[in-house]
């Protein structure tokens, strides 16, 4: 016990005693003159590092205590402040305490003049030039990068294979099923609300599969000539994919009191493209450039809803030439 105490005191004394600057054997005189004494900055840096240490300890404490109000925020705050203090301390140290001096040296005289000249001559003879090489590299990098940036433009137009954009799983007689695969019956479809359906047996992720079904009073339907016969007993179905940017149409505006409120409409939540379900999916508001594709419906003898054919126009966001073909 006594010996340990002696050792501790001796250690403390060793640390505390004022050290005299002495050159070790073999140590040279310093090149840069010692910095002017800067006790303020030293103290500041030390305090900043201590603050960093305190914050880091606080992080550990918060972590161990676990159930504090605003626990996550305290964790973030303590570790963040710790980093901040370390950075501040380092900045102070670098700018105020570390001695800097700019030294300049002349280029040494060439030692092997003849050999160097030979090598320069050799390189010149091969026709290789550093400047040309640099130009070539820049050109290659710039050209390839530009090409890479411009390539996706191909997706805008019917340059390669457009057939799959027109493909949908809908065929005459295909049943409309809900997300669990249960077929919809015409009697399931009520007014004033919207249903999402898929082509039976299709991949639900396929753009052409999802449709929205709504029922409107038959006397309010005002389908254009091209869509006559598309509705079944007042039930109409449209592609669920907005023709503007391809979002899913999930908003159905249905007035409680028709005379004084906005008319029924299918609305896309992304950019508020608004389509009139009573008029074949005509755009009534928003950025969509073409009508919502309409799916013809039939009611089977057992009451199930079935497709009467394919959509009247291509589904999904528009592209160049989207109107040139009917979906397949």
């Amino acid at each position: 016990m006594g010996r340990a105490k002696d050792a501790l005191v001796a250690g403390l004394l060793l640390l505390a005693r004022k050290r005299k600057r002495r050159l070790w054997p073999g140590q040279r005189e310093r090149l840069v003159p010692p910095a002017a004494d800067n006790p303020g900055s030293e103290l500041l840096a030390a305090l900043l590092f201590l603050a960093a240490a305190a914050c880091a300890v606080a992080f550990i404490v918060v972590y161990v205590l676990d159930r504090l109000p605003a626990h996550n925020q305290l964790l973030g705050l303590s570790i963040g402040l710790a980093c901040l203090f370390v950075a501040a301390g380092l900045i102070v140290t670098a700018k105020r305490l570390i001695v800097t001096e700019e030294l300049e040296d002349d280029y040494p005289a060439a030692e092997h003049r003849d050999e160097q000249e030979t090598i320069v001559q050799l390189v010149a003879d091969t026709g290789f030039s550093r400047r040309r090489f640099l130009k070539l590299g820049l050109l290659a990098a710039g050209g390839a990068l530009t090409a890479a940036i411009l390539t996706p433009i191909a997706s805008l137009g019917p340059a390669i294979d457009m057939a799959r954009f027109y493909a949908t799983p809908w065929r005459r007689g295909r049943r409309l099923v809900d997300e669990h695969g249960r077929p919809y019956k015409a009697s399931d479809i009520e007014e004033k609300t919207l249903y999402t359906a898929f082509a039976e047996g299709s991949d639900k992720e396929q753009l052409g599969s999802a449709v929205v079904i709504v029922r409107l009073p038959k006397n309010r339907l005002n389908l254009p000539a091209g869509n006559s016969g598309y509705a079944a007993d007042g039930i109409v179905a449209y592609s669920k994919i907005c023709t503007h940017a391809g979002c899913a149409i999930s908003l159905y505006r249905y007035p409680l009191f028709q005379p004084s409120e906005p008319t029924p409409a299918l609305v896309c939540p992304c950019h508020y493209s608004t389509f009139d379900p009573a008029a074949g999916g005509k755009v009534t508001f928003g950025p969509a450039g073409r009508k919502l594709p309409m799916l013809p419906l039939k009611i089977a003898p057992n009451g199930e809803l079935r497709a009467g054919g394919n959509f009247d126009s291509a589904v999904g966001p528009s592209w160049w030439g989207v109107r040139s073909k009917r979906p397949t």
């Binding site: 996550n72 009520e190 249905y254 409680l256 906005p262 508020y272 608004t274």
Partner: protein
């Protein structure tokens, strides 16, 4: 004089049978005073002068009356505007009377009694996302739809949420018991109650309205601080 005439006319249409706890007689008088100008005699939907200004109230039941009166949606300031949540216009006694009177106009649904404690939170989130979040936002903060403003649901009571699902006020779609069963409504109500005080693990929720304010914070707060730091770090050391 004119009001007296209206009340006199109403007397002829006064339904004999009355149901509910409220004072139907009181409700009848209040109806004549505040509602008949738009909803018409006995809530027929045909206003004086044979104009159709407002929906018929025959058969809407206590459910709709309870919802519209207790949210302050009715009486409406002028015809055609979207009703907004306001101070409730009537006192409790008058409310009960009016609700009982509207319920007596025709057979209709009763005021629902949702039990959010029986609901399932994760099912509620799923149903809310599927059916409601398109307009009301996923944390029920309200949003936009062309032609109307879906309200935030912070002040909606469980009963009012259950009522609104069945009514579809203004341009909201309506959901029958076939589309959303009472137990599914319980789950939705439970989720909406949860969404009123969501567990914000990240701290500052910035209004719970999603990526736009989050982006603004990132760009304008975060980037300003970072650029400021860069300027401070890059400044040349001044001796002195």
């Amino acid at each position: 004089m004119k009001r007296l005439l209206v009340i006199g006319l109403l007397g002829l249409a006064m339904p004999a049978a009355a149901a509910g706890a409220g004072d139907v007689q009181l409700g009848y008088h209040l109806f004549g005073q505040y509602c008949v100008a738009c909803h018409g005699v006995a809530g027929s939907g045909i206003a004086p002068g044979r104009r159709r200004l407002a929906p018929s109230l025959q058969g809407v039941g206590a459910l709709a009356a309870d919802f519209y009166l207790r949210t302050g949606y009715m009486p409406l300031q002028h015809v055609g505007m979207q009703p907004h949540r306001k101070r409730v216009f009537f006192d409790e006694n008058q409310l009960q009377g009016l609700i009982a009177y509207v319920a007596s106009l025709g057979p209709g649904p009763k005021v629902p009694k949702p039990h959010p404690e029986r609901g399932n939170l994760s099912e509620g989130l799923h149903l809310f996302t599927e059916n409601c979040a398109g307009c009301h936002q996923v944390v029920a903060e309200g949003g936009y739809v062309t032609g109307a403003l879906p309200p935030p649901l912070k002040e909606a009571t469980p009963t009012q949420i259950a009522e609104a699902i069945r009514i579809g006020p203004y341009v909201m779609p309506h959901f029958s018991t076939k589309a959303l069963s009472p137990s599914q409504v319980n789950s939705i109500v439970r989720y909406v109650e949860y969404a009123k005080h969501p567990d914000d693990r990240g701290g500052w929720a910035i209004g719970h309205v999603g990526p736009i304010p989050e982006g603004l914070v990132t760009w304008f707060l975060g980037m300003t601080v970072l650029v400021g730091l860069c300027i401070v770090l890059g400044r040349r050391l001044r001796h002195g």
